[in-house]
């Protein structure tokens, strides 16, 4: 029995963190945001092997588990790194397991070596807003999918109204790939519009798309965990330095208790993220429910931490000075993306016989 990270896993996080500390610090982040170009940092992550994390060793990959990918997502969240990680390194490689070897090899190596990136258009599975809907006729897709992660990627995984999963390629007939501005400048998100667009069927089995939705959610959970832990650490560090009324503010009981409450909310989220990620590989009968609860619970805890850490920082938390708002907004993005808490809690109801 071992419910903790292995040395390899800790080493993986160390190496990612070290790289991001050097190549994706706040100053670089501001540049990414301004230029809208994070190619450089993604290339570096690819060099670290992030692109082939989930590829079986037989195929030349690292053969790691969902949990390992989640640990990388945690590092990315901690650094609010802009990358096409979820689509390119997680969802697309896993989706491609369901297709024949020819198609698989066409996309898999370019994904692994960073030549192409992948976007994720699954949000309608979690509840469609407005008129958004994608329908399939004879392997042609039409309609609209909103809230696509990395909509301008070279390939996009798309779920239809029957919960089938398709792959469309940039430049395909009738495909529009639009990026829309959100509060989170560290993420590329937007929509795709399709009009009789040729697409590759990945699987018509709803369980495939739903499983990938669960996995993407757990990646967001890990991202929030990393971002929230960063905010808590920043708040504690700031409170130990900042003086008011001749004391460091971290000696005021009110400030101490705010930090303690953040830690108390956040700490169990770590075990919850581990378990949810582990369950996706090892405990399939628990995986869906755990992913839902992790998505909702960690979003709530993250929202609390984001707000409280900002408060501990006082006015500085509200400004751009320490860039704290990038983490605040990333947590806000993760909360809504692929199912806000109310929606996934209602999904959790439907997954349980006892609740019927």
């Amino acid at each position: 029995m071992d419910f903790g990270l292995s040395e390899e896993q800790m080493a993986l996080q160390d190496s990612i963190n070290r790289y991001l500390d050097g190549q994706a610090g706040l100053e670089q982040l501001r540049r990414f945001v301004k230029d809208g170009d994070c190619r450089h940092v993604w290339d570096g992550l690819i060099e670290l092997g992030v692109g082939s994390l989930l590829l079986p060793e037989a195929d030349g990959g690292l053969g790691l588990a969902i949990l390992d990918a989640a640990l990388v997502a945690e590092c990315l969240g901690a650094h609010v790194t802009p990358t096409p990680f979820i689509g390119s390194a997680v969802i697309a490689p896993l989706a491609l397991r369901h297709v024949d070897p020819g198609l698989r090899s066409k996309f898999l190596s370019p994904l692994c070596d960073g030549t192409i990136t992948a976007g994720v258009a699954l949000s309608e599975l979690a509840g469609a807003r407005g008129q958004a809907e994608v329908t399939a006729t004879d392997s042609k897709l039409s309609g609209q999918s909103l809230f696509v992660l990395d909509p301008r990627a070279d390939i996009v995984l798309v779920a239809t109204n029957t919960r089938a999963l398709y792959l469309v390629e940039a430049g395909a007939d009738g495909l529009q790939q639009l990026v829309h501005t959100t509060i989170d400048r560290t993420r590329s998100s937007g929509e795709i519009r399709l009009d009789n667009t040729p697409a590759q069927l990945i699987s018509a089995d709803p369980a495939v798309a739903e499983n990938l939705l669960d996995i993407a959610r757990v990646m967001l959970v890990a991202d929030t965990l990393g971002a929230a832990q960063h905010m808590l650490n920043a708040a504690v560090a700031y409170a130990k330095e900042r003086k008011q009324f001749n004391r460091v503010i971290g000696s005021f009981q009110a400030v101490k208790h705010m930090c303690a409450e953040m830690a108390a909310e956040l700490e169990p989220c770590r075990a919850m993220m581990w378990y949810a990620a582990y369950a996706l590989d090892e405990l399939p009968h628990e995986a869906r429910l755990t992913a839902c609860h992790a998505k909702a619970h960690v979003a709530e805890a993250g929202t609390f931490v984001a707000r409280t850490a900002t408060e501990v920082h006082g006015g500085v938390g509200f400004t751009d000075l320490l860039g704290l708002h990038y983490w605040f907004k990333r947590i806000g993005f993760n909360r809504q993306a692929l199912g806000a808490p109310e929606l996934v809690r209602e999904e959790a109801v439907k997954l349980q016989e006892a609740m019927a």
Binding site: G127, H180, F252, F318
Partner: protein
């Protein structure tokens, strides 16, 4: 208890409404337009009607009416209901003018109040400093007397309209050896005085809400001090409390609540309106209950003011509860919109001009600013509930 205003006031209300109906279109449509010809003309008309600067004496350019809290409220309510701007706002008219009336010299009153009321002089406030924060009185921007001029060095932060203000009213430390509250003076100066550098303070909303202002040997005539040397803290505090109440205006919260309910009627998830989803409905009803409670609390404060009764706790809690309520309300709106709630800037799916997200963040700023929630709770417990102060830590004791 009698919530009717009585016939005299209803007549007055009818007059205000009639004015708004006839002239409302003459007002500038942008509530923050303080500079255009239209804005200045509108301001002039409002003063003439007694709808702004109502109780300021005629000799200083006001309307010269006796204070009447209910009439003031009626004007505010009717202008808000008609969505017509009630004239030029800002800290000059709201804060400096009352301060000068109470503590300024006759010369200062005559020179400054009339053009300020007319909108010709627009003011910004220089109180907060980066290293002072909640401990405002520990400010360090200093001024020394050189001949008949004060020479100012230091910096201010959170100066909301510094980039378009003509003048600043400012707290500076002039008596470095006095206890911290006794070493501060209150100075007025032009923003185009040499040595003033205004830089935008970028904040999480991505809009320009605040500035930093840096002073390098800024020379100000000695006569531009309000009150005596070292009395600046008292001068500033004459009206500081008033500002805190403004942050929790329940009428604005009510407007936002009604907008939120409309939003819930239009947003859908899987084709179902959000307003038909009980979990969201329950959340908005909770907020409606809180807005009601704050509106009635506000009514109580209005009545107490009219009848010269005191309701100190009811007053002290307004900033804390009002800003929390707004933050919660705007947060619910974002949850109602889901991913659409993330839209910002030029996103074509933006709802309500993106104000939901903007307010969500801005109100977090207000929870922090103008006395953080932690400071508010200290005040409520110490002044409202007479609980003991925390044991003081001496300066440089280093026990932290």
């Amino acid at each position: 208890m009698d919530l009717s205003y009585g016939s005299v006031y209803e007549t007055f209300r009818a007059e205000v409404r009639a004015f708004l109906q006839e002239h409302g279109h003459e007002a500038p449509t942008n509530q923050r337009d303080y500079r255009s010809e239209k804005a200045l003309a509108w301001q002039e008309q409002l003063i003439k009607q007694g709808y702004t600067a109502r109780t300021i004496p005629k000799k200083y350019g006001g309307f010269g009416a006796e204070p009447d809290i209910l009439k003031t409220r009626i004007i505010a309510d009717e202008f808000a209901a008609a969505k017509v701007t009630s004239g030029i706002g800002g800290q000059g008219i709201a804060m400096l003018v009352p301060t000068l009336l109470e503590l300024g010299s006759e010369a200062q009153r005559c020179e400054i109040i009339p053009p300020t009321l007319r909108g010709e002089l627009f003011w910004c406030q220089g109180y907060s400093e980066p290293d002072a924060g909640s401990d405002l009185a520990s400010l360090r921007t200093n001024a020394y007397l050189d001949g008949d001029e004060w020479v100012i060095n230091g910096s201010k932060i959170w100066t909301s309209s510094a980039h378009f203000a003509d003048w600043m009213f400012c707290l500076v430390r002039t008596e470095p050896d006095a206890p911290k509250h006794d070493g501060i003076s209150f100075l007025l100066f032009r923003m185009d005085t040499p040595g003033i550098d205004v830089r935008p303070l970028h904040d999480m909303t991505e809009t320009r809400n605040f500035n930093e202002v840096f002073f390098t040997d800024v020379r100000v005539p000695a006569g531009q001090m309000v009150g005596e040397r070292g009395q600046g803290w008292r001068v500033a505090n004459t009206i500081l409390g008033h500002e805190r109440e403004l942050l929790g205006d329940p009428n604005v919260a009510l407007t936002r609540l009604n907008n939120l309910i409309q939003l819930m009627r239009t947003e859908t998830i899987d084709g179902r309106r959000v307003i038909d989803m009980p979990v969201f409905r329950d959340r908005v009803m909770r907020i409606q209950g809180k807005v009601m409670a704050m509106r009635f609390n506000d009514l109580r404060l209005l009545s107490a003011k009219i009848n010269q009764q005191s309701a100190p706790l009811a007053r002290m809690i307004v900033k804390l509860q009002g800003t929390e309520l707004r933050h919660e309300l705007e947060k619910l709106a974002i949850d109602v919109m889901g991913e659409f709630g993330l839209a910002y800037g030029d996103n074509e799916y933006l709802r309500g001009d993106g104000l939901w997200q903007w307010n969500y963040m801005y109100y977090l700023g207000l929870i922090i600013g103008g006395g953080t929630s932690q400071i508010q709770k200290n005040i409520i417990s110490e002044r409202g509930l007479n609980m003991p102060k925390e044991p003081r830590v001496q300066a440089k004791a280093g026990n932290a």
